[in-house]
């Protein structure tokens, strides 16, 4: 049983820590740098090959998806680096002893830590995501299919990885937990690529493996949603000579909006993982 007030106290504490320890400032500085570089890079692309038709539009879309992939990687790393030391070190160095001797439950500490870091990640994903996509559009004039939703999917992906890292941090040393979360993120992405190939080449086993991987860690569901939102509309693809526009969404350079069922699974996964994390933390000796 958790109540809101203590969760908010810990969330505020976590946010203040992010500000004071210059996590937010570092992210803001890096974002500014990336946005400027993005604008510069895409301006050069636009100069070399202005968007005059669907082929150039497809090319720009693919670079945009790659940029988004780089950003999703940065977000994932940020989520893991922020989440992996969120609980464990506070137990090991005794910081939590003084906190938990107050009228606050372990579950509330866990949820507060998660909430505080989630706010940091979501704000970062949304603000930096829009700025970067804005820089692309400004430099090239390319308007992806659904630019407004793409950063939201990326934020969701970061939340999945943050949850994984925090859950691991209740039991596993930060470095090991962080490494595990990063590997899991990479494997999930790779499984998504293989699953896409499975669909495109009609391989049942690959398709099932992809689905299973997404059930275990749904970060790739959200990444594919972001990539899909950054892809040009199907008519552009067809005009650009993509033989099977419907299958293009299974390529590593594209994706598709996840079904409501998959989105629900992402939410259930986060809630379930947090519940497991709370159980693990409750059973841990301080």
């Amino acid at each position: 049983m958790s109540t809101v007030e203590p969760v908010l106290i810990i969330a505020r504490l976590t946010l203040r820590e992010a500000v004071r320890r210059r996590l937010l400032w570092a992210l803001a500085g890096l974002t500014a740098l990336i946005v400027v570089l993005t604008w510069w890079g895409f301006s050069r692309i636009s100069e070399a090959s202005p968007i005059t038709g669907p082929v150039q539009e497809l090319a720009v879309s693919q670079v945009t998806v790659m940029l988004a992939f780089m950003f999703s990687f940065v977000l994932a790393m940020t989520a893991v680096f922020a989440g992996a030391p969120a609980i464990g070190p506070d137990i090991e160095n005794g910081l939590l002893l003084a906190v938990l001797a107050r009228p606050i439950r372990r579950s509330e500490v866990m949820l507060g830590r998660w909430l505080g870091l989630a706010v940091v990640l979501v704000v970062y994903a949304i603000v930096a995501g829009y700025l970067e996509l804005g820089a692309v559009t400004l430099a090239t004039g390319y308007a992806p299919l659904d630019p407004l939703i793409a950063p939201a999917y990326l934020a969701g992906e970061a939340l999945v990885l943050l949850t994984l890292a925090i859950v691991l941090s209740t039991r596993i040393a930060s470095v090991a937990g962080g490494a595990m979360a990063v590997v899991a993120f990479g494997l999930a992405w790779m499984a998504g690529v293989l699953g896409g190939i499975g669909v495109a080449f009609d391989s049942d086993i690959l398709r099932r493996a992809g689905t299973l991987a997404r059930l275990i860690l749904p970060s790739d569901v959200l990444w594919r949603g972001a990539a899909g939102a950054l892809t040009p509309p199907e008519e552009v693809l067809r005009s650009a000579g993509v033989a099977n526009a419907n299958l293009y969404k299974y390529s590593p350079f594209s994706g598709a909006a996840p079904s409501p069922l998959w989105l629900a699974w992402c939410a259930v996964w986060v809630v379930g993982a947090l519940a497991i994390g709370i159980l693990l933390l409750r059973r841990r000796e301080l």
């Binding site: 004071r20 160095n93 107050r102």
Partner: protein
């Protein structure tokens, strides 16, 4: 808790008022290791209670169980009337952990404000609470310094300030002076004294016997996760005696002294255990009357350390020649005592 009639009476009183802490056969196992074998004790409200034991006796484990920071494997207990693990009762408890560590990126003032918030103290009173706590532990000058830059001693002082916020009814101090210099230790004794005056129950977990001896009303000695003795400080240190340096008497002196209590002759030192204080002049008079030369008369009493060691089955270090619980004396030399009397020579 085991104890004498007086101890039992004190416990009965504690129960009648609603004890601050009661535990019954509290047990904690970590895998196959038994950290606490079966802790049964009662701490009355308003008393300063010393919880003593050698390293690894299960003291810190017991504290964590009392505060709900750890779940007992078996047994039960109540703290301030609430069952172990109750969250709401922690509003009334202050705690200084043995492993004290606070957010290094915060100032001392901010750490205290955080704990005011966590303890749900009314916001209007925070500033005053924080100022009072900082003054009490002598950290006013460093209130706005980052705690990450604090020395261990300063961090422990901060921990003490955190524990005292909001005038808790029960203050649990786990080795509160482990990082403090002698001045700091004196400050802690002063603070514990003021808590006692205020009616606050203090649970002092320590292995520093002199510290406990000076401030505690009652003591429980634990070993291997069990209370081996629980007595008032007076009971623990009772059993007075006297050491006399006598010459010219030989065995006669011991025969005379035997009428006053168990005696032992050790070189020139005649040791008499259990003799009442007002009987000492009479004994001295008799010895002098029989031709003895008295060079020194030193009343002795058991120190907590002696009782502690004897209860734990260890041999007390009697290098100072102090009586132990068996009435025996160790090596030669002037007996240690806190109240030496100048020697009176034979007329």
């Amino acid at each position: 808790m085991t104890g004498t009639a007086a101890g039992a009476a004190s416990e009965a009183a504690a129960t009648a008022r609603g004890a601050a802490i009661e535990t019954h056969e509290l047990r904690k196992e970590f895998g196959r290791i038994v950290a606490l074998a079966g802790l049964t004790m009662t701490v009355a409200r308003g008393e300063v209670f010393g919880f003593l034991g050698p390293n690894g006796a299960g003291k810190t484990t017991a504290v964590k169980l009392l505060l709900g920071l750890s779940q007992p494997t078996a047994g039960d207990g109540r703290v301030m009337g609430a069952p172990l693990g109750d969250v709401a009762v922690r509003r009334r408890i202050g705690y200084l952990p043995e492993l004290f560590r606070y957010q290094g990126w915060m100032s001392a003032r901010e750490v205290l404000a955080l704990h005011c918030e966590l303890a749900r103290l009314p916001r209007a009173g925070w500033e005053q609470e924080i100022r009072a706590a900082l003054e009490l532990v002598g950290l006013v000058d460093r209130a706005d310094g980052r705690t990450g830059t604090f020395s261990k001693g300063m961090q422990q002082r901060l921990g003490l300030a955190v524990a005292l916020l909001g005038r808790p009814d029960l203050v649990v101090l786990d080795e509160p002076t482990s990082a403090l210099d002698p001045v700091g230790r004196q400050d802690v004794r002063r603070i514990i004294g003021s808590l006692r005056d205020r009616g606050t129950t203090v649970f002092l977990n320590s292995h520093l016997l002199t510290e406990v001896e000076r401030v505690c009303d009652r003591v429980a000695i634990v070993d291997h996760g069990r209370v081996v003795s629980g007595l008032s400080m007076a009971e623990l240190t009772q059993g007075r005696g006297v050491s006399l340096r006598v010459t010219n008497l030989g065995g006669v002196g011991a025969e005379v002294a035997a009428r006053y209590g168990p005696t032992r002759l050790d070189g020139e030192w005649l040791l008499v255990d259990g003799i009442a204080g007002d009987a000492i002049p009479q004994l001295v008079g008799e010895l002098v009357a029989r031709g003895g030369s008295i060079h020194a008369v030193v009343p002795t009493r058991h120190t907590l350390e002696e009782r502690f060691l004897s209860l734990l089955g260890a041999t007390p270090d009697t290098g100072g020649g102090v009586l132990d619980t068996e009435g025996a004396v160790g090596s030669e030399g002037a007996p240690a005592s806190d109240e030496s009397i100048p020697a009176k020579a034979k007329p």
